[in-house]
Amino acid sequence: MTALRAGQGDDDVLTVGGLVNLNGAAVRFDASGVLHWPEERLLVVADLHLEKGSSQGKRGRFVPPYDTRATLRALSEAIGRLRPARVIALGDSFHDGGAEGRLAPADLDSLAVLVGAVDWTWVAGNHDPLPPAGLGGTPVTEIAIGPLVFRHEPRSGRAVGEVAGHLHPAAKVGRARSVRRRAFVSDGSRCLLPAFGAYTGGLNIMDAAFKGLFERSRLIAWMLSDGRVYPVRSAELLPD
């Protein structure tokens, strides 16, 4: 695969076809928030947090219990469009241990349809250390494919080829008025995925939790807004 020199100097962010070079793998940061690796027919989605809405109920916060439905609809749209053979759910797919049991029957059905249609992998997350009981799919703690390794929580320090979730990255830009959006964050060597769930918030990439994970000079936040992706270099990023 020929690397395309897209920027000045030694920036080799992009590969042929506008795909992003991630440790030698040619991937796409899809505007829906999933990572797509066409060569492997692989789709990766992080932090679905299914049934986060209903988890609030115990405390008397009756937020609309439709987040699972919204999340699954968006995911099924992405799968239908990108037609992967394999899906990796990168952990925290369920908001808590009881989440699977709280799924509305219709939501359970649509999730089962999604899982059954492809080679589905459940990566364990801190919210869902145990795999779902009755949905099929292969549970793993992490999984390596080619130059990439997929796990829920990023290792501290540099981790070449790591694709992770957990931190819910978001980026903020703009001087006179600021705009904050979910984002993929990558330095070409490792990548963190934005949280996909309908009720998941975002943590600013400038937060201390991201410290030491990336080579800042090569860091790009791929901000998601309104069906588009905006690559933003680290010099433009603002803290909250």
Partner: protein
């Protein structure tokens, strides 16, 4: 007609000792009071409204035998509710004089958010005879388990500044509180104290319980007319009046001279930032060091109290103030009121001018200072209105459903209730008289489990219908949550501003004095080193520490961060009509300053001036763009809505609108294709562009993606208790445990668009932020009466709005622009 011997000798003697005679309206209120009738008192400021309101209670209490130890403690006799804490404190002070003078043994206490826990406790054990409080505190008291014993002896409820309360959600909260009070003490009588209003019968109906399917019941009414005609002038400077802007800088030198000529001047402005600016500019010119102070709601309470005390002592020569000093408060010996900027409504003007010379028989003196040329017209219209006593208070709308939800939870906190009883109680309130049973049940369901078609929260229900047919609270923690979140005032989160040191090393140095509070969004845009005006000083932003903004004193006198200085109140319908009439009638122009007169004459010669019920639309090219300028004079909110809808329609018709701007008077839209030419060629007709049907589908489509509705929804969700006010904004970690209301809104709109809170948010947006009623009235008014003038350059009347055009863009595009600017072009190009 009025029996003077109603007044006990002790009272008569006190009046006589002061050289006073009770006024007719005070005796009229006494008569109604002793007969147990509810009554509305409408009187101008300075008429002795407060004493009139309390007199029946004082007379009744004077006759009440002394409480003997060992007997049952008596509850509160008279409850006084005011919209402002400060007003309650002020009334307590003002009542001391008659109570001590007459020699009454009457306990008067306040209960506000500032009252200490120990004092609250004591008040519950030993209730005062007269309790002065706010709508929120009343709701809290009513939700107490002991509410029934605390309130069972109440005879009178006095509602001060009723005209200001009833048109807000706080008014809804109060209406519901009153309905509850009536259920506890059925013979209660209500006394409403109000400034003059457009429709007194609405307030009369508001004060008394309503029965279903019966004609409206009305309270008694006592109206005090007259008072000396105020002496109001429009400020005239030697310098030219600016075309646009809100600073009124041209007038400051002249204003200082006015302050110098009077004992004590009150300077009103429309916004906090305007107050800051006027204050600092006056001090810059204040060579004689006249004592001038600043008073607005964001300042620290201690600082505000100091200013108030200094006013009362006559130690100040002028105070610059916003609406925090707007209502009934009566301090010091003010002999001049200056209003900077246009007053936006005739009632508002009357209220503010009432501050000067707080004695009814002397004329108030006031000076209006228009900040730009359109404001000159508005000030003149306001002046005309004040003389003819016109009123423009908005009508009372149906009670809000989110407030009702809060009340239902509060009712359950107080103890078990039956739905039938509560519904009957609620519809006795005037503003909830249209609430049908089905809607009420939806609200109960909302409180119980969130009101979702998908019954996900049954097992977590806050209230449950039990076997005995009553609804009961399921867990005491919901009572606690209710107490923490009571009220309807949802401000954007406020941050404390603290004086600290310059940022060194890792962060700002802490430990200084508290200066006040600012809205969170104001700080969002700031970087360390930015300077801004606050508390009368130029401050340097040093950083954030948790919920505090740390600042230092800046050496420069020139703040870097400009603040929006427009009014937050839109131009009232009444004044708008006045302005339109003035434009069309050259004979009225002689009252206007010469530059403004010349300006209108130029407009007449170069373009045209519309008749009062016409809409003038001008089109002209300017710097490569094609402008469409409309002059509806319907207020900023209605104009903003119309601007959004117009750009959507122009887009659809293929005229490529690039942006628009709206003021209280004018809307300007600019396009990249020649919209004027298209109208001239009849490719586009203005009647089609401005069809009333634009309030249908276009509005729906726009609202759906608009952030306005999200903001409304957030407030409704908090008031209704769906999310907790005090939990919002507390989390800084981003991966919040709580879910943001924006995300909730998106999901709910998609999956249950008929949800009751979306309905509530829509109702709020259409009446408050969008001014839909006004817009639709306008569209039908101008139908068939649109006059188009195609020009080859800017018209005189368009100059002000052309000067205002800044960074405004077509809705929704702005965010994407920010992202586009920040994004790396080269990568983007390669990806495309």
């Amino acid at each position: 007609m009025i029996e003077t011997n109603l007044l006990p000798p002790k009272f008569e003697a006190w009046f006589a000792s002061r050289g006073w005679r009770p006024r007719a309206h005070q005796l009229a209120l006494l008569e109604h009071g002793l007969a147990g009738r509810s009554v509305l008192l409408i009187a101008p400021t300075g008429a002795g409204k407060t004493l009139a309101g309390f007199l029946p209670s004082l007379v009744d209490l004077a006759a009440r035998p002394k409480w003997k130890p060992g007997t049952r403690r008596r509850g509160v006799h008279t409850l006084y509710v005011s919209p402002l804490k400060a007003l309650a404190v002020d009334i307590e002070r003002n009542l001391e004089t008659p109570v001590q003078g007459i020699g009454l043994d009457v306990a008067i206490e306040t209960r506000t958010g500032d009252t200490s826990a120990s004092r609250r406790q004591r008040q519950k054990l030993i209730p005062p005879d007269i309790l002065l409080t706010t709508p929120e505190q009343l709701a809290l008291l009513l939700a107490g388990r002991d509410a029934e014993t605390f309130f069972e002896d109440v005879k009178t409820v006095i509602l001060d500044e009723l005209h200001a309360l009833v048109t807000s959600k706080r008014g809804d909260l109060l209406a519901l509180g009153l309905s509850r009070l009536r259920a506890i003490a059925p013979d209660i009588r209500a006394v409403g104290l109000s400034a003059t209003v457009a429709d007194p019968d609405e307030l009369r109906a508001w004060l008394v319980p309503q029965a279903p399917r019966e004609p409206l019941a009305l309270s008694e009414i006592v109206t005090v007319t007259g008072g000396a005609r105020p002496d109001i002038r429009i400020f005239e400077a030697d310098e030219a009046i600016p075309w646009a802007g809100h600073s009124a800088r041209y007038a400051y030198q002249g204003l200082l001279a006015e302050i110098d000529r009077h004992r004590m001047t009150l300077i009103f402005v429309n916004t906090r930032s305007q107050a800051e600016m006027v204050f600092s500019e006056l001090w810059r010119l204040n060579d004689d060091n006249l004592p001038i102070a600043l008073h607005h709601g964001s300042l620290d309470v201690g600082q505000r109290r100091k200013v108030e005390a200094a006013m009362a002592d006559g130690r100040l020569r002028a105070v610059v103030a916003t609406s925090t000093l707007d209502l009934g408060i009566d301090w010091g010996d003010i002999d001049l009121v200056i209003h900077v900027g246009a007053p936006k409504g005739a009632s508002r003007l009357a209220q503010r001018v009432g501050r000067a010379n707080h004695r009814m028989d002397e004329p108030s003196t006031a000076l209006l200072v228009p900040a730009n040329r359109f404001e000159v017209l508005e000030c003149q219209a306001a002046l005309d209105a004040n003389y003819i006593g016109a009123q423009d208070t908005p009508p009372i709308r149906d009670g809000a459903l989110d407030v009702l939800a809060q009340h239902v939870l509060g009712r359950a906190v107080a103890g078990p209730f039956r739905a039938d009883d509560l519904h009957a109680e609620i519809v006795s309130a005037y503003s909830y008289r249209h609430l049908d049973r089905q809607q009420f049940d939806r609200v109960v369901d909302l409180v119980a489990t969130g009101g979702y078609a998908l019954r996900a929260y049954e097992r977590y229900a806050k209230i449950k219908l039990t076997a005995d047919g009553t609804w009961r609270l399921t867990h005491p923690r919901f009572a606690q949550a209710y107490r923490l979140n009571v009220g309807t005032i949802i401000e954007s989160p406020m941050l404390k501003v603290r004086l600290g040191g310059k940022a060194r090393g890792r962060g700002p140095v802490m430990g200084g004095r508290l200066l006040g509070e600012v809205e969170e969004y104001f700080c969002e845009q700031m970087k360390v080193g930015d300077t801004f005006l606050f508390a009368g000083e130029v401050l340097r932003f040093e950083g954030m520490r948790e919920t505090e903004v740390v600042v230092s004193r800046a050496r420069s006198s020139d703040p870097r961060i400009p603040v929006y200085a427009g009014g937050k109140f839109p131009l009232s319908t009444f004044l708008a009509a006045g302005v339109r009439k003035m434009l069309s009638d050259p004979s009225s122009w002689q009252r206007l300053p010469a530059p403004v007169r010349d300006w209108l004459m130029l407009q007449r010669d170069h373009s045209l001036l519309p008749q009062p019920d016409e809409l003038l639309v001008e089109t002209f090219p300017h710097r490569g763009r094609y402008f469409l300028v409309l002059y509806p004079f319907e207020g900023r909110l209605a104009h903003q809505t119309l601007g959004m809808l117009l750009t959507r329609r122009l887009e659809r018709f293929g005229f490529k609108p690039l942006g628009f701007i709206a003021t209280d008077y004018v809307i300007a839209v600019w396009c990249s294709s020649d919209v004027g030419g298209a109208i001239a060629r009849r490719d586009l007709t203005l009647s089609r562009l401005l069809e009333p049907d634009m309030l249908g589908d276009d509005l729906e489509a726009w609202m759906a993606e608009s952030y306005l509705l999200k903001r409304m929804f957030k407030a409704c969700a908090m008031i209704a208790g769906l999310v907790e006010k005090n939990a919002i904004g507390a989390q800084k970690t981003g991966r919040q445990v709580t879910v943001s209301t924006d995300l909730i809104y998106d999901v709910l709109r998609e999956h249950q668009p008929g949800h009751i809170l979306l309905e509530a948010a829509w109702a709020d947006a259409s009446s408050g932020l969008l001014d839909l009623k006004r817009l639709s009235d306008m569209l039908s008014r101008i139908s068939g009466r649109i006059v188009h003038k195609r020009l080859d350059r800017i018209s005189p009347l368009a100059v002000p709005i052309m000067l205002e055009i800044g960074g405004e863009r077509v809705a929704g595009e702005a965010d994407e622009d920010v992202l586009r600017a920040a994004a790396d072009d080269i990568i983007r190009e390669a990806m495309a």
